[in-house]
Symmetry: C2
Subunit: 227 residues, 2 copies
DNA sequence: ATTTTAAAGTGTAAAAACAACACTTTAAAC
DNA sequence: GTTTAAAGTGTTGTTTTTACACTTTAAAAT
């Protein structure tokens, strides 16, 4: 057995999660940020966060915290990095684990967001954030871009059914560069896990655009590394 | 100011670091593992780890822990992931941040390693490890491979000066696949930050092989993502 | 009924990157 | 001077990526 002293001679710290919540609307990525009407750092902008509770995993804490703010329970989420500088929170020592989440911006619970005094802010207009939250956003964006470059996580920012124009606009926003329509569609056509639903979206054009969906059964992750 | 209760109503946990220490010898990657002659889990295999102390960042704790075992202070290290399941350590709740380190296996301090009852184990022969350390190793290997595929971190596993044959053998070990000698050398030749030193290594062949080194001044990270 | 409009949809050719492939050179050891 | 074993070196075919502009469609306006 482990001697009690093995653990007890060492300090304990608060552990928190901070969530970088991405949305997509009108061709732009945005973040859900709190304008804090509570302490500490009242009046400043921050990420949504919370403390990890007894018996709760850090992953579960991140899901709880995002659900408290958005009302959404089954989001795509991924751990980004852990921030462990002793003075990162000026109040007390808090080790914080950052997660990013991808939200279909049509679906979040507006009342909850308003109640938290939270706002969707377009990425280029993100204000200075408290503590190391600005660094967290940079790291999360880099990591989300990486993941979006190797697997179709970006689709979690769109409705279940989406047009190819929507999809292209999304990827242009994620990678910050415009893409050739024909080349983009050729690439999508080669992905059998993105399939036509047969339905047509008429909201964006008179002609109508074919709706597609992601088929998870046809998607098999592949990881091939090269130097 | 932050009300005291803001923090104090929340629990605190032990925070530890666990280190996946990679070495390279005889064409194989290996890990430095402890055969634990101490509690908890005496007699089992584990990663080198330790608790984060007051006033110490998690990064600093990881460096300290690796230095305690190897005597080496300036290793390439990178945070991998944080493991926060409430029952991951059967003794008490411990949130653990994993880091990987790359060691030039010629340089570590043998006395320290022996004193810790630690051994270099070739990757395919890694035994079952305690707690979630096996998962940590898988995650670290995947992440190290990814990093090695986008930047020349692998070079930290070699001496300052190395031959192209050594470098190719290293990458073959990292990616688990053999590579064409001419294509490999063409790629290296296109990397101006890997430069000939003018010296020759005579230990591996009568003819001698040119020695190369990494020139950090010529290396500029580039990150371009594509879908 | 015809014309206008605005987004959806479509193919080809050049360039670049990657993959496959085998012999020559060198210097020490015998 | 012959042998040995690793170091070193180019070309060609294939695949992938990029650049580029017009046609189709269906509703709205006339």
């Amino acid at each position: 057995m482990a001697p009690k002293a093995y653990y007890s001679i060492h300090p304990k710290f608060h552990v928190s999660v901070d969530c970088i919540i991405f949305g997509f609307e009108d061709g732009e990525l945005s973040l859900l940020l709190l304008k804090r009407n509570f302490e500490p750092a009242r009046g400043q902008w921050s990420l949504m966060g919370g403390f990890v509770e007894e018996g709760e995993s850090t992953d579960a804490a991140a899901r709880r915290v995002v659900a408290e703010l958005t009302g959404l329970n089954d989001l795509y989420m991924s751990q980004v990095h852990t921030y462990g500088a002793p003075d990162r929170d000026p109040g007390e020592r808090v080790v914080s684990v950052a997660y990013y989440a991808l939200v279909d911006i049509k679906k979040y619970n507006r009342e909850l967001v308003d109640a938290h005094n939270a706002f969707w802010v377009n990425l280029p207009e993100v204000p200075p954030l408290i503590f190391d939250h600005g660094t967290m956003v940079e790291d999360a964006l880099r990591f989300m871009r990486y993941q979006a470059s190797v697997k179709p996580v970006g689709i979690n920012l769109l409705p279940e059914e989406f047009t190819l124009t929507q999809l292209q606009t999304l990827y242009e926003a994620i990678f910050g560069q415009s893409m050739d329509k024909r080349n983009f569609r050729k690439r999508i056509a080669s992905m059998d896990y993105i399939e036509k639903t047969g339905r047509v979206d008429k909201t964006m054009s008179r002609r109508g655009a074919a709706l597609y969906r992601f088929n998870p059964d046809k998607y098999h992750e592949q990881s091939i590394f090269k130097i």
